[in-house]
């Protein structure tokens, strides 16, 4: 199984649109994971049929028993996450702020605090026309998105270990969900856009990827909206010896296909679809090369 993650650094550059098109264009058996667990969108274009869901338990959360709490306030003083509020009659934990460290359980003189499991999301296992999709829903505002990403990847790799390709739609950013997404991948495809923000964020996410070992590839989406910046991105990638394997033009057909809920490559030979086909052909060669080396 080759593990390929589509990521971006900057949000909204077109990760999900490209992932959905690759689902349509890459050969062999594929299992998908939507690791943008905060805002999972791949299901909106792959049209999955749900097979089953399972609860995701994040870190345990502190719970104070009001019957035992004597308002010593030691818990509030020692909590480094400002998660505890002491009221007139009892102390209370804000589950959105609690990071599950359990310091309050050892510091409470009345032993009023216990750590309790809390569901912070669910993991969904679905069927699509191109293979199984593992996706998730994080309870809005909940933490532990990195842990949930890990759980989503693990489910996909265990359930569909015989697939040729593990295709991951990743999160934006460079923090814990992104690190969890790219760890253990063979290839990352970074989708960027020709803007000062796009280039800046590309450099940062490449720096993070280089702390791992995947092969790094770049695609420039909507490249024709600012040609001078597309050139700048191309030059920077050349200097860094990162192949730019696709340049996709701005194309209103992309939004139309998202509105129809289908990959853009399924709705005719539009300029964007043609550019993604070229990208997919290069990517296919990359996957073959990697497969041969194993």
């Amino acid at each position: 199984m080759i593990r390929l993650a589509v990521i971006s650094g900057k949000g909204g550059t077109g990760k999900t649109m490209i992932t959905a098109a690759l689902a349509h264009l890459l050969p062999g058996s594929i299992v998908f994971a939507d690791c943008d667990v905060d805002a999972a969108n791949l299901e909106l274009v792959l049209g999955p049929t749900l097979i089953r869901t399972e609860p995701f338990m994040g870190m345990k959360t502190a719970v104070i028993d009001p019957a035992l709490c004597s308002r010593y306030e030691e818990c509030r003083e020692h909590c480094r996450f400002d998660a505890i509020e002491c009221l007139a009659d009892t102390c209370r934990v804000d589950p959105l702020r609690c990071e599950g460290c359990a310091v309050c359980t050892v510091i409470c003189p009345a032993s009023a605090v216990t750590m309790q499991p809390r569901q912070t999301g669910e993991i969904k296992y679905s069927e699509t026309s191109r293979g199984h999709l593992v996706h998730a829903r994080l309870v809005p505002g909940a933490g532990n998105s990195g842990l949930l990403v890990h759980a989503v990847k693990k489910t996909a790799m265990e359930q569909d270990q015989d697939s040729d390709l593990f295709l991951i739609d990743g999160p934006p950013g460079t923090g814990c969900p992104l690190i969890s997404t790219i760890s253990g991948t063979d290839i990352v495809l970074i989708v960027t856009e020709p803007s000062v923000s796009g280039l800046h964020d590309l450099k940062r996410v490449v720096a993070v990827c280089r702390q791992f070992r995947p092969r790094i590839l770049v695609a420039i989406n909507r490249f024709d909206l600012e040609l001078s910046l597309s050139d700048k991105i191309q030059n920077w990638c050349d200097e860094e010896k990162i192949p730019v394997i696709g340049k996709i033009p701005f194309d209103p057909a992309v939004i139309e296909s998202v509105r129809l809920g289908v990959p853009v490559t399924e709705s005719g030979a539009t300029p964007a679809a043609q550019a993604i086909q070229t990208l997919a052909a290069i990517l296919k060669q990359e996957l073959t090369n990697l497969g041969n080396r194993r």
Binding site: V106, H200, D201, P252
Partner: protein
């Protein structure tokens, strides 16, 4: 007054909104703009200016091997698996540590103390009269975005009018950035992706008890689904910005809409008044 700009979906134009609002309001008084998208901060690109920089650190445990008896209590206690106690030494994994101080509390031999570890930087600049920009930047490879966000907001704690640009998504970095804000501007685009993620973001703001208004960006006129959602959920549309290649080009090259096309400033002023009505807070 603290104004948060958030989105759910990435790339809808949060930074653009925050930057133009700050640019416009800074002509009328002191404004502090805080970049809390610390994983990928971008606001400094729109306001190039010399900045003073300081480190953001978090305390992490250091084990004194001369006092450590390798009893293993710290490793057992650590909920994040950041400490592994072997027979003759202790392994520490700083990227897993949340800096709770628990290991220090449970160590029976006083063998653990804490030292600061760099997890990011804060840059402060004054790019135009009336405007202070504070940018939080997470160290590349560090997973600890939340403490950097907290530090950036703290730096602006005593400022009168603060505009906070958040990360995309709906998880802990967004919650940290929204916490304590008077109201929230959610920037969306009229696609199924935009609407899906807008619903999640509205849910987060509601859970935090923060009033919300909507900005539709890059509108191609097909906003019916988004409008219906806003009407159903009693959400005011504060502003609609049309898609145009010209506006996209202004932002792509790092300029501001209100700088390149000053007539937009009155729209951002109007947005501010609608926002203020949402919060019920005077400036």
């Amino acid at each position: 007054m603290k104004i948060a700009v958030a989105s759910g979906k990435g790339g809808t134009g949060k930074s653009m909104m925050a930057a133009n609002l700050a640019f416009t309001l800074a002509w009328t008084g002191q404004v502090t703009l805080v970049d809390c998208d610390v994983e990928e901060p971008n606001l400094h690109l729109f306001f190039p200016a010399p900045a003073s920089t300081r480190e953001v650190t978090m305390p992490v445990p250091v084990i004194d091997e001369t006092k450590c008896q390798h009893c293993g209590l710290c490793g057992e206690f650590c909920q994040y698996g950041a400490l592994t106690v072997l027979q003759s030494r202790v392994l520490f994994f700083p990227e897993l540590c949340h800096s709770c101080g628990g290991c220090m509390l449970v160590c029976p031999n006083g063998a653990i103390h804490e030292e600061p570890k760099r997890i990011g930087t804060l840059s402060t600049s004054a790019p135009q009269p009336g405007l202070k920009l504070i940018s939080g930047t997470l160290e590349t490879g560090s997973p600890h975005a939340v403490p950097v966000i907290r530090a950036a907001k703290k730096q602006a704690a005593h400022d009168q009018l603060v505009i906070i640009d958040t990360a995309p998504g709906t998880s802990c970095p967004v919650v940290e950035a929204l916490d304590g804000c008077d109201a929230c501007i959610l920037v969306t685009e009229s696609t199924p992706f935009g609407l899906h993620d807008l619903q999640l973001a509205v849910d987060v703001a509601a859970r935090l008890g923060i009033p919300t208004g909507i900005v539709i960006n890059r509108s191609d006129g097909k906003d019916e689904e988004t409008l219906r959602f806003c009407i159903d959920h009693d959400l005011e549309i504060l502003m609609t910005i049309p898609f145009s290649r010209e506006i996209a080009a202004i932002q792509n090259r790092g300029d501001l809409l209100c700088r390149a096309q000053p007539e937009w400033q009155k729209d951002f002023c109007a947005l501010f008044f609608k926002y203020r009505a949402l919060t019920g807070v005077e400036r």
